[in-house]
Symmetry: C2
C-alpha cells in the first residue's frame, strides 16, 4: 500500500530569537491549519525531516512532541507520524470571558454592580489561603455583549497584588488587569454546571425566571503558587457554552 507522504518545506531562521523547535511547531501547525497538510497524510520520518531542515533530531523531535501533545499529530512506533485533525480547537485556556469576547471581535461592556475592599470571610480565606486578617477585593459585574446581558460574575481577589478600583473594572477585563500587574497565571481549578435563574439573576440577565444558566466556579493560581482569584459566574445558557478539546496523552 502506497501512502501519501508529505514533503513539507519550511523556512527556518537561525538568527531569529524564536527557538528553532518552536519555529518548526509554528510552521507545521500553520501548514495543517491552512490545509496544506491534510489529516491522514504521513510525515517524513524524524531523521529525514531534521536533515532537510538542517536541524538535529532532538530538536526536530521536540517540535513534533509539542504537536503530538496538542493533538495535531499522532506518532506510531515503527510506522510513522501522521496528521490527525485540522480542527483542533485551542485548549480551554486560562483566559477570561473578556478576552474571549474581544478576540471574537465583539465589544464587551462591563457594569460594576457592587464593589468592596473588605475583610475576607472564612470560606474565601480558605480558598485563597489567606491569613485571618487579610483583606480582599469583592465585586460583582454584569457583562454585556452588543448590549445584551451575557454573564453575571462575582469575584474575590487578594489585595496584595495590585490596587483595583471600580472604574478600571468597568473598562478592562479582570485577567487583563492582573496580568498587567505582573501576575503570571499558571493553573486554575474550575467546575462547570447548571442552575435555574433565581429572580435577581433573571432580572439582571434579562431572562425569564427559572431560565437555564451555565455556572462556572474557578480558582486561579499564579506561578509563585499564590491563589490569586476565585469567582462564581453565571452565563445565559442560550448565549454561552464552554468548548474545549481534550487530548489524551
Amino acid at each position: 500500500m502506497i501512502r501519501a507522504v508529505a514533503s513539507l518545506s519550511l523556512n527556518i531562521d537561525r538568527s531569529s530569537p524564536v527557538p528553532l523547535y518552536h519555529q518548526v511547531v509554528q510552521g507545521i501547525e500553520s501548514a495543517i491549519r491552512s490545509g496544506e497538510l491534510v489529516p491522514g497524510t504521513r510525515l517524513d520520518n524524524e531523521i529525514e525531516l531534521a536533515a532537510r531542515l538542517n536541524l538535529s533530531r532532538p530538536t526536530m523531535r521536540k517540535a513534533m512532541d509539542e504537536l503530538v501533545r496538542s493533538g495535531l499529530l499522532v506518532r506510531k512506533r515503527g510506522v510513522g507520524t501522521q496528521v490527525v485533525a485540522s480542527q483542533v480547537r485551542r485548549h480551554l485556556e486560562l483566559s477570561s470571558l473578556f478576552d474571549d469576547l474581544q478576540r471574537g471581535g465583539s465589544k464587551p461592556t462591563t457594569e460594576v454592580l457592587t464593589f468592596s475592599h473588605t475583610a475576607a470571610d472564612e470560606r474565601i480565606r480558605e480558598t485563597l489561603q489567606l491569613p485571618p486578617d487579610a483583606l480582599i477585593y469583592h465585586f460583582t459585574r454584569l457583562r454585556k455583549m452588543n448590549g445584551k446581558p451575557l454573564a453575571l460574575m462575582e469575584n474575590w481577589v487578594r489585595d496584595d497584588i495590585t490596587e483595583i478600583d471600580e472604574s478600571s473594572l468597568g473598562s478592562r477585563g479582570l485577567y487583563e488587569i492582573l496580568r498587567t500587574a505582573g501576575v503570571n497565571f499558571r493553573l486554575a481549578n474550575q467546575r462547570i454546571g447548571a442552575v435555574r435563574a433565581d429572580d435577581e439573576q433573571a432580572v439582571l440577565l434579562q431572562a425569564e425566571p427559572g431560565a437555564a444558566l451555565v455556572t462556572m466556579e474557578r480558582t486561579a493560581v499564579d506561578d509563585t503558587g499564590r491563589q490569586v482569584e476565585t469567582g462564581r459566574h453565571a452565563y445565559r445558557a442560550d448565549s454561552y457554552s464552554f468548548e474545549m478539546t481534550l487530548v489524551q496523552r
Copy 2:
C-alpha cells in the same frame, strides 16, 4: 533569604521496563501528593538532581518537563524549580461517565432505551466523516447511580470498528467497549452548556419539568484520525458538574 530546598531521594530501577524519566515523574508526583514535598519548596537544580540519581540532565529534564506541563512544578529561569500546588486535579480526561463513576466507587447501571443499526443521516455523516452509504449504531441510554437517574445519553458510533449490541451496552461503558475493541482515543472536542429539561427528559431523569440540566456534546477521535463516536448527553444539574484543572503552558 534562605529558602527550603528539598533533597528528595527516589529509587530508580534501571532494569524496569518503565522509562527512567517516567519513574522520576512518578516518584516526584507521589512525593508531592503524599505531602513529602510541600507546595513552595524549591527543588535542587536539574544537574544536581540528575547527578544524584545517576541520570543525564536531558532525562531529568524530560521528567520535570512533564511535571511542569501537568502543573505540579513551576520553573523560573535563573532561579530554580519549585512545587506549585498539591491539589491539582487530574486533567479532564478522555473518559466516559461510566469510568468516572466506577472509579468513584459507585455502582452505575445502564438502561438501553433505544437501539438501532441504521443508515446515518447527513448531520451525523458529516460529524463522523462517513461516506453516504455508511451505517452507524445509534442508541440512547439512561444511566443511574445508586438507583437514581443521573444522565440521559444519545450516541452515534461508526460500525466498522466492532459489533455493538444492546446487552453489552447494558453492562459496560461505551468507552470501555471501544477500548477493548482496540480503539485508542486521542482527542475529543466537547461543548458544555445548559438547558431546561423538556417533558420527556424530566420523566426519564425523575426531575421536574424545566429543571436545569448540564449538557455535553462530544466527538471523539482515535489515533488513526477516525471520528469514532459522537454523542449528546444531559445530566441532572443537581447531581453532576464538570471539574477540571487548566494548565497554562
